[in-house]
């Protein structure tokens, strides 16, 4: 079989109008927990896993704050377990990335490649993705020394100096991981104190080859002409003075942006782009629920994501059976 022109695929799509009671978009802790609960409620949920399947935990190493694992569990192992657990109860998980949604009528329509899916209740668990610097050059040098994933790309910087940008838990985890590979890790943070949890701060501060540069921003990454990272141009946010730091790699850990582009104009969003939820996991459209980092800019933990996934599944189940209490907010939000 060979697909060269797009025509056969389109014809095929017309035949593939798959209808489900519950569809979950996303396969991180929120999406898979929602799928687990929906599966146990006999709703045979379909999970469309998305391009970043397994979510952010797939890019981590040891997760030490997931309850019930006193010695910690590797992020990818946790996701493998959660996925198998959801499947065991009848969740179906498919590859693919949703390219558009139509939430104007039920069942809701989702497009994946050239196929259409119909959902009577929808759970949005699309999560958040690593934020880039907004320099332009950082994306152009992605895979050429600029990375948002230390566990993926740290390997290439054995015995070389690297920098980590950011001051939160993500940045500290990257710095600690890289300190075992790189000769020197320089953490560049635009404030004078870290946002990271105390445990992570202590670990990073006590590492002999992690240095800190405070109150400093990265204003340029060199060298695009050579097609690789050679140095960073830094600017002191107080004095405005610029300097250059020679590194072979730079890891960006400045936070995440919610994956809500699909829903713009269809679901109510906060100004920062996160989905608005109310009365549990409800969004501004009846029958659409949201869970995990896509709607949480405050806690953003694996366990809170899983908890909200459970809430979304229970809300969806009640919605489908007609027992979800209507609330006062709906009438004002739904136009």
């Amino acid at each position: 079989m060979s697909i060269v022109s797009t025509e056969p695929a389109l014809k095929d799509a017309a035949l593939r109008n798959i209808e489900r009671q519950v569809i979950v978009i996303g396969s991180g802790p929120a999406g898979l927990t929602a799928a687990l609960y929906a599966a146990r409620a006999n709703l045979t949920p379909l999970v469309i896993e998305g391009i970043e399947a397994g979510g952010q935990l797939m890019l981590t190493t040891m997760v030490e704050n997931w309850p019930g694992h006193r010695d910690g569990i590797m992020g990818p192992d946790l996701m493998t377990e959660l996925r198998a657990q959801a499947e065991r109860f009848g969740a179906e998980i498919i590859q693919g990335d949703v390219s558009s949604v139509d939430l104007s009528q039920r069942p809701f329509t989702l497009k994946v490649d050239n196929a259409s899916y119909l959902a009577h209740a929808l759970i949005v668990a699309t999560g958040a993705s690593a934020k880039w610097l907004d320099l332009g050059v950082d994306k152009k040098l992605s895979g050429r020394g600029v990375s948002t994933c230390a566990t993926c790309d740290g390997f290439f910087f054995k015995g070389l100096p690297v920098a980590v940008i950011g001051g939160g838990d993500t940045a500290m985890e990257e710095a600690i991981y890289l300190s075992k590979l790189a000769t020197r890790v320089t953490v560049i943070h635009r404030r004078e104190a870290l946002r990271a949890s105390k445990v992570m701060q202590d670990k990073a501060m006590s590492s002999p080859n992690i240095d800190f540069i405070w109150n400093t921003e990265v204003v340029d990454i060199k060298d695009l002409a050579q097609g690789k990272v050679t140095s960073l141009v830094l600017r002191d946010v107080n004095s405005g003075k610029t300097s250059e730091l020679a590194v072979d790699g730079v890891f960006i850990g400045i936070g995440h942006v919610p994956n809500t582009a699909l829903f713009k104009g269809q679901l109510a969003l906060h100004d920062n782009g996160y989905l608005k939820t109310h009365d549990g996991a409800r969004t501004s459209v009846r029958g659409v629920f949201a869970a995990g980092d896509v709607q949480d800019h405050v806690y953003r933990q694996a366990v809170t994501a899983a908890g909200s996934g459970c809430m979304a599944a229970i809300d969806a189940e009640r919605f489908l059976s007609g027992t979800l209490h209507e609330d006062s907010l709906h009438s004002t939000i739904v136009s």
Partner: protein
């Protein structure tokens, strides 16, 4: 369901293998979680473009010279060669649709 159509290239045979035709090479490692996500897509591409496109994988742990030569500094990275010339570098995750478009440009 690993596709038998996906070949394995090494530092020793890489230059020879990409010399002719259109070749898509997936640089990966056992410890790379995102690489596991793209692997099934690469296998599907090998099946769907069978006869028109050679698809291969390079384990970067066992073959450090080839990634270094092509300045691969992050994985997954896909390189597309046509008759020995590097035509496309695709860093990170991409959808199958998007990869299909990139491949079709060179067939």
């Amino acid at each position: 369901m690993a596709s038998e159509k996906v070949k394995t290239f090494t530092d020793a045979n890489f230059g020879e293998e990409v010399k002719n035709g259109v070749v898509l090479v997936d640089f990966w490692a056992t410890w790379c979680a995102p690489c596991r996500r793209i692997a099934p897509i690469v296998e599907q591409l090998a099946d769907e473009f069978d006869g028109k496109l050679t698809v291969a994988k390079v384990d970067i742990d066992e073959n450090p010279m080839t990634p270094s030569k092509f300045m691969v500094r992050g994985i997954p990275t896909l390189l597309l060669f046509k008759d020995g010339d590097l035509k496309e570098t695709i860093v990170g995750l991409e959808t199958k649709d998007r990869l299909t478009q990139v491949i079709n440009k060179h067939l």
